[in-house]
Point group: C4
Chain length 219, copies 4
Amino acid sequence: MDDDSRLTRWDRRTDLALGIASLVFLGSYAVHVLAPGMPKAAHAFFLSLMYTAWAMFGVDYAVRWRLSGEGPGFVRRHWLDTVVLVLPLLRPVRVVRTYESIQRRHGEPRLPLHARVAAYSALSISLLGFSGALAVYQVERSAPNASIRTFGDSLWWTCSTLSTVGYGDYVPVTTLGRFIAAGLMACGLALLGTVTGSFSSWMLQRFSLGEDERRPPEN
Amino acid sequence: MDDDSRLTRWDRRTDLALGIASLVFLGSYAVHVLAPGMPKAAHAFFLSLMYTAWAMFGVDYAVRWRLSGEGPGFVRRHWLDTVVLVLPLLRPVRVVRTYESIQRRHGEPRLPLHARVAAYSALSISLLGFSGALAVYQVERSAPNASIRTFGDSLWWTCSTLSTVGYGDYVPVTTLGRFIAAGLMACGLALLGTVTGSFSSWMLQRFSLGEDERRPPEN
Amino acid sequence: MDDDSRLTRWDRRTDLALGIASLVFLGSYAVHVLAPGMPKAAHAFFLSLMYTAWAMFGVDYAVRWRLSGEGPGFVRRHWLDTVVLVLPLLRPVRVVRTYESIQRRHGEPRLPLHARVAAYSALSISLLGFSGALAVYQVERSAPNASIRTFGDSLWWTCSTLSTVGYGDYVPVTTLGRFIAAGLMACGLALLGTVTGSFSSWMLQRFSLGEDERRPPEN
Amino acid sequence: MDDDSRLTRWDRRTDLALGIASLVFLGSYAVHVLAPGMPKAAHAFFLSLMYTAWAMFGVDYAVRWRLSGEGPGFVRRHWLDTVVLVLPLLRPVRVVRTYESIQRRHGEPRLPLHARVAAYSALSISLLGFSGALAVYQVERSAPNASIRTFGDSLWWTCSTLSTVGYGDYVPVTTLGRFIAAGLMACGLALLGTVTGSFSSWMLQRFSLGEDERRPPEN
């Protein structure tokens, strides 16, 4: 119990810092990928930012492991945290959650449950898609017969993939690019189902409220 | 409360007028896009129709802001209304709602909840798809290496996009066209999930009614 | 009430005949499309079969209208029946229902609700897909630059469309073919959502039954 | 009742053996397809492994038929088992279930219901996809104008198919390959809906738990 409350306190204290670190990580990775021609010093600065943020995730993971009082089972039981530690580009997805939990602590008015889940998933998809587009672009741009050659193409390809439309006008051709794409499809589909399902529940709720439809329901 | 009831009264009084204005806006925009070779006077007439309708939306927004008694928070809290004001092509989606609320006031027999939501979403998708096809056609037709060259192509592309089939035989190639396409995917997917979910709930309801399946359930 | 019970009796008596007529219609249409080189007499025979079945649908519609005691509102209120009368290729979808209702009357053991809905929708999709593939094949095969040239291509295209995969290797190019395709997408998506949703509910049910998973739940 | 409990006992005793046989079947089939150039003796060994596993499935089917005390109706009533017997590549899908039921018997901590269903379906999709990729690769690689020429292409095609993205850059061209693809789409879509639905229910559950989100809910 004591460990648990210490864990909760740790989470509460580091939430904001880690959220900012996640955005910093994504931002400096974006700069690293999208501005390859910048001066060496600037490049080194952004790279160091990136690795600092990553180190912070590692420290957080270690402290939480320690505080949990669990043995090696922690790695397996918190496998999602482990995956996110290894692939920090997935980290920004947690930012939305952080924002939500901070907002709640401040007692701000909350949206109804379904709307909140829909908004959370929609934002997660956007961040995930942006990260995925960056990663695929970095991998594909130098491939000999790639079809994804600009970041715009990569973003467009991400939209068409995450919505499961899949035009096929731009397609990753490298093995690594395809692995990233497959991961993007998997995460995207799960989150998409959540957006869709919550949105549809929310609309049903609003419709079932007879007269005063303009005001969102309490729950 | 007083403000609120005045808001309700305003909504009730302007519902029909705004619904008609939405259809007029969509209609004159369609004429503007699809009949570029018509005489100058006619063109000016349809353009003025379009802008008049848009102005009406602006007035409605302003009055509702005023009546709500809220400060600048109104813009954020009613962000959907704000978006629809800026992108009036999304407006016709509300027409179905207007029709529904007018019908209810007249006490006409209502469909069961799920069927109503399914019908509402299906009609919204149709209007949204038509608007999207118009906008994409307008943007793409003059692009140098566009694949969408006729309005028929654009409609077909819209069908294949909104259903998430995505053949890829016709694809937007301009940046603006792709932005519209991404918006269409996002709205389409959310609404599609609603259609699908409600339809499926409705079928489950009908099946679970043992003997008298021909008659729709009350709720 | 009297009209109603007469309507019920009519339905009960004609269910089987109409179900068979639907299959006969689909079968003779298939022969008409797939065997264009057969002797004239055989062709005339299948055509007459087709039109006889269609006439039966018309008579059924008329009698039900009569028995319902409703005025012209019948056409609007039973719009689904009206659509099916005009597009009899949609008729076979009702066969599954007929089979189900006959089976129930004989008191045979019924599947759990969700499994039944899933099976019903899956069979409907299959029949719908087969009809759609036939219609698209008939329309496309003679188009100058068609990509769908054999019935096999058409079936493959239907699979890829109804599952919303949409490879785009075969695509309808005529206006009529695209209209049929759009209709297929709309019906297919709604039914697909029903299959998917019911199947998933069924699996949840089976999982939530703790120990005796081998036996299906009662409901 | 006696037959039933004997059936239960049979299931309990053979669960593990059959699960291992399923994986052995999949493994030796994979070797058979992916390493065509290996020495004859090794090839014969893997083929015999494959057929031994298949024979075990047949014996299990026969014993369960016998113990059920049912007549030929068994084939129809347990049609899923029958299908799996004929197409043993579908068998590995049951492995996950076996694992789950063994784990439960040992009283290990269980995930909440929705998470369990989501995990089960996700693993099933992976196994199904791997089997499908193998089968399509075997069929397509020797076709004259095939686009799927390596196992990597086949895996990539499977990802894009099961997620319903469907880029269309790789597509089966043989009739048998298309049949397998259609089966893959059908199974994949049903399972995908289950993954998506359960995942979304799980997220809703976690969100609706107010404060202590880190801990999974009991159910």
